[in-house]
Symmetry: C2
Subunit: 342 residues, 2 copies
């Protein structure tokens, strides 16, 4: 099936096409780009919400309830759950996931999980592509849930419109979150398991940290991050969380939403370029060939230089417009290459 | 000062040259590659130990004591401490660091910290370069300490010879470490603050997890990861930790140490290539120009394709050897580019 064919089926509302296109995104299928181009005019209507936080903060249960709350408020929801790849966790997360799958009896909800793989950007690229597909399909909200541990997971949530960071009392999670800089990315903070001891203290700590940040940033024209208390156990706070997300949306919509999204989308261009270049380069220079080069007593910079030389020449030529790509001149290469011997 | 000049001063034992070359590594100075080439024959004698673990596990105190223990056992030590960049943590870490600085009265110890920056490989590249410099300078042990939170930090420790993962009881750290897959990279596990409640349980849990892993891996010819109990408070376990590191070294030395190191070094080649290419590409295609391209209703793949086309042509040509870099032909480009429209 070609990209435009499957795109047409997606736009007709076929779930088969939705699933297939997300798989294409995940597997970096060569026809995905054509399919995306065909559905791209329909991308941009959904509100994208990222949910992240340290392991054990209860993100899956919270997401599950947030989906129910969004449904009650009339929005359809596409969910993308990013599972860590560690074999140690497969079981535990699957348990959470099964609870979430209860929602799938509802046709206004679509749930898809995606494995967290290596740390070099392929995951975030695929996740954003999958969100585009769900967006074009017509979901009102696209919810992306990740475990907030790695750079890829961070990149995934940073690409959404509203980032919800979930913490819970105890376990030093609040402090750890501060250390990991997770606050920097939050648009809404949730203190989950708010019926537990220490929840109030955590809320105070977070509000202090936010105040400190707002002073540092001069406070001007910036979003005032709300801290919401939720308890899955007691079933409280979910409506407040939905309202906080809506509040952030309303705030963004009176500002430069298009600009903000286009700014975030630049990262997707970079991820595609990065992934494609690495596939190409390391397909041609595999571990074995690099190891042999290194064993000839050459430094990593020497070996890197050899790989880079033809590539940099072409970039220099394309950049200066002095020649067509078909007749690259290498005259620019070799002078002042930062960190690479010439 | 040229690369070879500063290299010569490093080989003469000048601390000034040691500091300067690490700064060059950190700032991706253009002359670093030449300096490294000049000192490279002296790289490879030091034993490199990575110390990592979740925030709050007491890594800095432990590293401090490990340095003292290594000095007692007769080794000189170069320390590279990777600090997270979050403004929230600067203070706390600095406190730890000051304690460590006590060691600097000893001329057999050199301590250098390096800021943890963005997540795209520059840190790990610079850290490995800095280790090479300390190694060539002549330290018997090079110790790298990172907070085990991000991909970059993971990459840094994964590049060392012996990886020590530090956990402590309470705070669910053991479970979190399992979730984050941190065990996968450990050659030695430390249960720190072993005088606290729960330490024994954590040791049992870790030993169980290791046993499970060893069964999955068939157990054949693999290193049996020891779990060492340490308490900075009581001053116990540090000698056992040193012996565990020495044990791992002895084990590796009877196996393919050269192959293992060369295998890890391949990653350094990739990091250099990646960093250099990204500097070049994004220097030429900045946020503003990418945003304008995207606003013309084009997908990220369309924009990526335009950037990639000349670069991929040159890789194809260089790879097939059909033409000199100076006369690249673009005939190969545009067909079957995975994930990029043609």
């Amino acid at each position: 099936m070609t990209g435009p064919e499957i795109a047409e089926r997606l736009l007709r509302g076929e779930l088969f096409a939705l699933s297939r296109l997300i798989s294409w995104a995940e597997n970096a299928h060569p026809a995905f780009a054509d399919a995306l181009a065909a559905i791209y005019p329909r991308v941009g209507k959904a509100w994208r919400v990222g949910v992240t936080g340290p392991p054990g903060a209860g993100k899956s249960s919270l997401s599950n309830e947030l989906v129910a709350e969004l449904r009650r408020s009339g929005s359809t929801v596409g969910v993308l759950a990013i599972d860590p790849s560690s074999p140690f966790t497969g079981g535990a997360l699957l348990g959470d996931r099964i609870r979430m799958e209860e929602r799938t009896k509802d046709t206004g909800v679509f749930i898809r999980s995606m494995a967290s793989r290596d740390g070099h950007g392929g995951l975030a690229r695929a996740a954003v592509d999958a969100c585009d597909v769900m967006d074009a399909f017509g979901f009102g909200t696209v919810l992306v849930e990740t475990v907030g541990v790695g750079q890829s997971e961070y990149d995934v949530v940073a690409a959404t419109d509203t980032v919800v960071v979930v913490l819970c009392p105890g376990a030093g999670d609040g402090i750890q979150a501060l250390k990991a800089g997770i606050l920097e990315v939050a648009d809404v903070l949730v203190v989950n398991k708010s019926d537990l001891d220490g929840a109030e203290q955590l809320m105070l700590d977070l509000e202090d940290a936010l105040r400190l940040r707002s002073i540092r940033r001069d406070g001007e024209n910036s979003w005032d991050v709300p801290v919401v208390a939720c308890s899955s156990h007691q079933g409280t706070g979910i409506d407040a969380l939905r309202r906080a997300i809506e509040g952030h949306r309303a705030w963004l919509e009176t500002r430069d939403l298009v600009g903000m999204r286009s700014h975030k989308r630049v990262q997707q261009v970079r991820r595609i370029v990065r992934e494609r270049l690495e596939d190409e380069l390391w397909g041609r220079h595999d571990d074995g060939s690099l190891e042999s080069s290194l064993r000839a007593s050459r430094t990593p910079y020497d070996v890197a230089h050899e790989i880079l030389e033809p590539v940099l020449s072409s970039i220099h030529v394309a950049g200066t417009g002095r020649a067509e790509a078909g007749h690259a001149e290498s005259g620019h290469a070799g002078s002042g290459h930062k960190g690479v011997r010439s």
